[in-house]
Amino acid sequence: MNPRLSALKPTWIAAVTLIAAALAWSPSAHSDDKPLRTVEVADPFLEMHTGPGKGYPITNVVERGESVQIVRRKTDWFKVRTDRGREGWVNIVQLELTLDEFGERTAIEQIGRDEFLQTRWETGIMTGDFAGSDALAVYGGYSISRNLSLEIWGSQLVGNFSNGWLGTVNVVHETFPEWRVSPYFTIGAGVVSTSPKSTLVAQEDRTDQVALVGGGFRAYVTRRFVLRAEYKSYVVLTSRDENEEVEEWKVGFGFFF
């Protein structure tokens, strides 16, 4: 047997132990001591599916006037427990039609466009082309005001002849943040470092300062996600006589919180 594959043996032992532990540990048993939210069914009935998805069959219904406890949530599905101890998954659309302890419509925390406009932190990943190289970028941003935010970018550049890293700090102005597809403009500065591929004749590694200007669009998609597409034009301040101009475009998505 390959010695490297036999090194997997402890992994399998660990795996089996994990399965056993997972089966023995029931999370619902632990959550019993925590207070759970209780809601009363106001519609003729509440449908309980066997799993958190539309396709799972409905095996139970709770009638009007009965109450259920909300055990946990997975995306837009809620695991509920009836007074008789039966459990099942209810969709958010039906759960919002139930009444809370004050006899009012149950308010469920939902991440939507309003939260998107109010939150301050955003992070995301984008990919695209940087002067012929493939670029993989990650960013983190903080909104100073509704229109203005600060972003820090780190990109890995993978080209045919050289690889590199790019790090920049940007100021972003989003002119119409309330638009569904909203344009923004950005300026920034940073550092780019390139090194030739190892299969080529060795050249020196280079680290240069860059300045950039660009623009793009942000579009709110769903829950915590935004789609982004942008173009940036860089000036690489080289130590040689002439500065280089480099173009970059990227697409990707952001996650706000």
Partner: protein
């Protein structure tokens, strides 16, 4: 003349009478009810109702999935070896999730290196194959798996694809990955995952430019939180 006097007396009577009797029956001259109403009503009861702080119990959400995996990876020209790594995923809805993954494997010598005996293409550091990627997965066939008569586990078959970077042979390569996998949930928070994926990138490591396909198959455990 007589009628003029009568008018005068009447006028005086009308003006004086209410003042003397305190009667306010005549709407135009009496003090009127509205003046009393206009006075600020005296507050009899001081409201001492404190606002009730309503703290609704938080609903436990489980949209994140974190896990580790181990398996085998076939690195084109460099043999099949053990691979291991970690993943973190966020479930957007019941169908879609985004996942970030890292992994590494050590590669073997190529057939050429083994046969020639001496020539080494890569040094030890360069032989290490590490990758990271970001992918989007789609739970295309969710359902239930039955274990005996009394137990049912939720499961899903998913397809997944994404982009990332691989470090191998001293270089970084832009890598696409695509594949499919299976997730079996033991309960609401623990799951077993079996995943098969191709990590493809362009390379000229062995002289000519080509697309290298590196197939992986791994088993992992994930935890929802």
């Amino acid at each position: 003349m007589e009628s003029r006097l009568r008018f005068l007396f009447l006028s005086v009577a009308v003006l004086v009478m209410p003042a003397l009797t305190g009667c306010s029956s005549l709407p135009f001259f009496g003090p009127g009810e509205d003046t009393q109403v206009a006075e600020a009503p005296e507050q009899v009861i001081e409201p001492e109702v404190e606002r009730r702080e309503i703290v609704q119990p938080r609903i436990d959400t489980e949209d994140f999935e974190i896990g580790v995996y181990a398996g085998g990876m076939s690195v084109e020209d460099f043999g099949v070896n053990a691979v291991y790594g970690a993943t973190i995923a966020y479930h957007l809805n019941e169908a879609l999730f985004v996942e970030g993954a890292i992994g590494r494997t050590d590669t073997e010598e190529t057939s050429f290196e083994l046969l020639s005996g001496a020539a080494q293409i890569l040094d030890d550091d360069e032989r290490e194959f590490t990758y990271y990627n970001a992918s989007i997965g789609w739970n295309i066939f969710p359902g239930e798996a039955f274990f005996g008569r009394g137990r049912a586990f939720n499961q899903s078959f998913y397809v997944i694809a994404g982009l990332g970077s691989t470090r191998f042979g001293g270089d970084d390569q832009f890598t696409i990955n695509f594949g499919a996998g299976y997730r079996l949930l033991f309960n609401d928070v623990f799951a077993l995952r079996v995943d098969f994926r191709d990590h493809a990138f362009d390379t000229d490591l062995l002289g000519e430019s080509k697309t290298a396909h590196n197939l992986t198959g791994h088993v992992g455990f994930t935890f929802f939180f």
